[in-house]
Amino acid sequence: MSADKIYLDYAATTPVDRRVLEVMLPYFSEYFGNPSSIHTFGQQAEAAMENAREIIARCLFCNPSEVIFTSCGSESDNLALRGAALAARQSRDAKHILISPVEHHAVSRTAEQLAEVYGFELEYLPVDETGQVSPTQVAQHLRPDTAVVSVIYANNEIGTLNPIREIGEICRDRGVPFHTDAVQAAAYLPLDVDHLQVDLLSIGAHKFYGPKGVGALYVRNSTRLLPVQTGGGQEFGYRAGTSNIPYIVGMAEALLLAQQERQTRHAHLLPLRDFIIAHILQVIPEARLTGHQQSRLPNHASFVFHHVDGNALLMLLDVEGFACSSGSACKTGSPEPSEVLTALGYTRDWGLGSLRVTLGSESTQGAVESFVVVLPKLIQQLRSMR
C-alpha cells in the first residue's frame, strides 16, 4: 500500500492477510499437483483442497459436499441464479424469478439475462428507503412457479443488512430455493446456513483478506442446480475446471480467521464507523446517510451529498491521499446514479453525489480523524464550483 495514502475502500477489496499468504505459498511450486490425478502429487493437492472445503463447511455449518469452489463471488452468484433457475424449469416448469432491486450486478444482470434470453419472468421485490426487503413482501410475491429467490445479505453500496433468516423461512415453507449473496457479509457476519435458512450462498475470498480470483457457493444438498460451466467432473459436477489449490487454501484460512476474529474486528471497526457517520452528518450540510442506521455492516459508512459530483469528489479525495468509492463507481467519467440509490428513491441531484467509506484492518482513529477534517472542505469546494 502506498505509504502516504489512506485506504478506505475495503468493500472494493482487501489486502491479503499475511497469515493467509503464508498458508498459500507452498501450493504454488511445492505441492503443485492436480487434485484430480491418481498419484501422490495429486493426492497431496486433493488433501489440501478437501481440508479447505472442511474448514469452509465448518464456517458455514454445513456439509463439505455442499461447498462448491468457484473463481469469485460473481461466478458463485451466476451459478446460483442460472443453475437454480434452469434446474427449476427443467424439473417443475418454474419460470418466475424474484430478486431485490438492490442486488449486486452479478445477481441482477444474471437475472436479467435469464429473463431476456431464457424467457423467465423477472420480478423485483420492493425495498424501503434503507434498502431493506420485508419478509412479508416476499411472502406476497412468491408464486408456485417461482424458480429462485435472491436477496443480498449485506449490500455493497449502502451496507444495509437484510432479514435473511425470515425470508429464508418463508421460501422454505413454499419449497422455493433461496439464494443470498453474502460476498460483503462474509467478512463480518455469521454464515450459519441453517440458521439463515438459505439454500444457496455466495462468497468471494478477496472481500475478507483472502486472494482475488477465488470464491465459493454453498449449495444445500436438497437443492437442484444445473452446472453452468461443464467439462471434467470437478466440484461434484457443478463446476468444471482444474481446482485452484493455493487460492482455495487461502480462502479457507481467510474465512476461518474472519469468523474466529469476528468479535475483535467488530470492536475495532464499529467505533470508527460511527465516528465517521456522526461527524460527517453533523459537519456537512445537506448530507445523508444511505442505507440503514443500525442494521448495517460494521465497517461501512455511505452517504449522499446534495449537488456534489461524486466522481470529482473521489478524485479530489485521492489527490488528498484518501481512497474511497462511490455508488456509481465509474472510471470512465460517464456517471449515472446507481440503480441501488435510485431504488431507494434518491433523485439524480442526490444520487450522483454518493460516497462510500469502508474500513478495515489498517484503519486507525487517526486516519478517520484526518478524513473527517478533509472531506467537508472538499465538499464545499465542489459545491462552490457549480
Binding site: 466522481n311 485521492d318 489527490v319 470512465t332 467519467g333 464550483m385
Partner: protein
C-alpha cells in the same frame, strides 16, 4: 518554478498529450493526468474521435507507464449544452460554426481548468502546438508553434491572460516528427493515429447527417439564385452548404458556380462565378485580445480566416473591445460567417473573433 509544482495534463491517449505529460514528469513536476469525457451521440461512443473507450484505455496505459494518477471527468452535459448546442444553433442560423473554439474557451480552459485548480494544480497542460512567452510588461504572449504545419494558435486565440497564467504547452517547441521521436525514446507506445480535423462528436459521420439526426427540422429546401435573382435550381437546406463550395450544388451552368452567401430570411442560396467570390471587408465580433485589450489601431497585421487558411496581410481596426473591422490587402475567398478571424504579428497571436 517552485519545486514539485503540481500540473494537470489533459490527456487524450494520443502522442502529443502523452509526450507533454512525459516531459513535465521528467522536469520534476507533480503530474496528474485527466481526460474529459465529452458528449457523444447515444450508441456512438466508440466512433467518436476522442475520449473513446480505446483512447481512455490508452491514456490510462500512458499514465501508468509514467507513474502518474489519471482521472476521467464527466463533461458530457456541459459539452452537449455549450459546444454541440452552439454547433447546431449556428447552422440553424446560417453560419458555419467552429465548435472547437467554444470547446477550448468553455470546456478545456474553463471547466477543466477549474477542476485542475481544485486539485491544487498551478497549471493545466495540453498537447496543443503553441508556445508562450512573456511580454516586456509581464503579460503572456501566445506564439505560433515551431511547427507551422501543426500550429494550433488559431483555436487558442480565445484564451485570456487569466487562463494563460495557468497554461503550459510543452510541445509547442517541437515539430511533430520530433514529438514522435520523443514518444519513442520515452518508451511511450502511443498508437500513431492519423491526425484528423473531423469534429470529435461527429463519430466519423458527415456533419450533415449529424445535423439531420439531432435537429430534424434544421434544413428545408429552397431556391438557388444568382446575385441578380436568376433561379438556377433548388437546394436541400442551407446548413448543407459552405461559402466557397463548388461541388455538389446540383446545377448546370456555363461557368463553374460557387456558393457566395446564404440568405437566411428568404432561405435562398446565392451562387456566382469565381470572380464574384471573395471580399476584402470583414467584420469580426466576440473578439478576444490575448493581451487583454486591443492594440492601438488601426494597424497592419496578418490574418487567418480558417484553421488551415494562409496568412493574409490586412489592415486591422479595433472598433470596440469586442468588435474588429478587417480590410485585407487582397480579396479573400471563403470568408465564412461563424469561423474565426485570427490576427497575428508575425509569430505572436494577438487575438481574433468570430466573422
Amino acid at each position: 518554478m517552485p519545486s514539485r509544482s503540481r500540473v494537470v495534463v489533459a490527456m487524450s491517449g494520443g502522442v502529443d498529450s502523452s509526450v507533454a505529460a512525459a516531459l513535465l514528469k521528467q522536469q520534476g513536476y507533480d503530474v496528474i493526468g485527466m481526460m474529459l469525457r465529452l458528449w457523444s451521440e447515444p450508441g456512438k461512443a466508440d466512433s467518436n474521435r476522442c475520449c473513446t473507450p480505446d483512447a481512455m484505455a490508452q491514456a490510462r496505459r500512458v499514465a501508468a507507464r509514467l507513474g502518474i494518477p489519471f482521472y476521467a471527468i464527466d463533461a458530457q452535459q456541459i459539452f452537449r449544452e455549450i459546444v454541440v448546442g452552439y454547433f447546431i444553433e449556428g447552422y440553424a442560423q446560417g453560419i458555419t460554426p467552429n465548435p472547437c473554439l467554444a470547446c477550448n474557451r468553455y470546456i478545456r480552459w474553463e471547466y477543466l481548468l477549474n477542476h485542475a485548480l481544485a486539485l491544487g494544480a498551478d497549471y493545466l497542460v495540453t498537447g496543443h502546438y503553441v508556445r508562450l512567452s512573456n511580454d516586456t510588461d509581464g503579460r503572456i504572449q501566445l506564439l505560433r508553434a515551431v511547427d507551422r504545419q501543426k500550429d494550433q494558435s488559431y483555436v487558442l486565440h480565445v484564451l485570456t491572460q487569466a487562463q494563460l497564467e495557468h497554461a503550459l504547452f510543452p510541445i509547442g517547441d517541437f515539430t511533430k516528427p520530433q514529438v514522435r521521436q520523443l514518444a519513442e525514446s520515452l518508451g511511450l507506445a502511443v498508437a500513431s493515429r492519423p491526425d484528423s480535423q473531423d469534429l470529435c462528436f461527429l463519430a466519423g459521420d458527415d456533419y450533415r447527417e449529424f445535423l439531420l439526426r439531432n435537429s430534424p427540422g434544421i434544413a428545408s429546401p429552397g431556391m438557388i439564385q444568382t446575385r441578380s435573382g436568376e433561379r438556377l435550381g433548388e437546394h436541400r437546406g442551407l446548413p448543407f452548404y459552405t461559402i466557397g463550395q463548388r461541388k455538389g450544388l446540383g446545377i448546370a451552368h456555363t461557368q463553374p458556380l460557387y456558393v457566395l452567401e446564404k440568405n437566411i430570411p428568404q432561405n435562398t442560396l446565392i451562387v456566382g462565378t469565381e470572380d464574384e467570390l471573395g471580399s476584402s471587408e470583414l467584420m469580426v465580433e466576440k473578439a478576444n485580445w490575448v493581451r487583454g485589450e486591443p492594440p492601438p489601431g488601426p494597424f497592419r497585421a496578418q490574418v487567418k480566416i480558417r484553421y488551415k487558411a494562409r496568412d493574409a496581410w490586412a489592415q486591422v481596426n479595433p472598433l470596440s473591445a469586442n468588435k474588429i473591422q478587417i480590410h485585407s490587402e487582397e480579396p479573400l475567398r471563403d470568408i465564412t460567417p461563424g469561423q474565426a478571424a485570427v490576427i497575428y504579428d508575425d509569430d505572436i497571436c494577438l487575438g481574433g473573433g468570430i466573422i
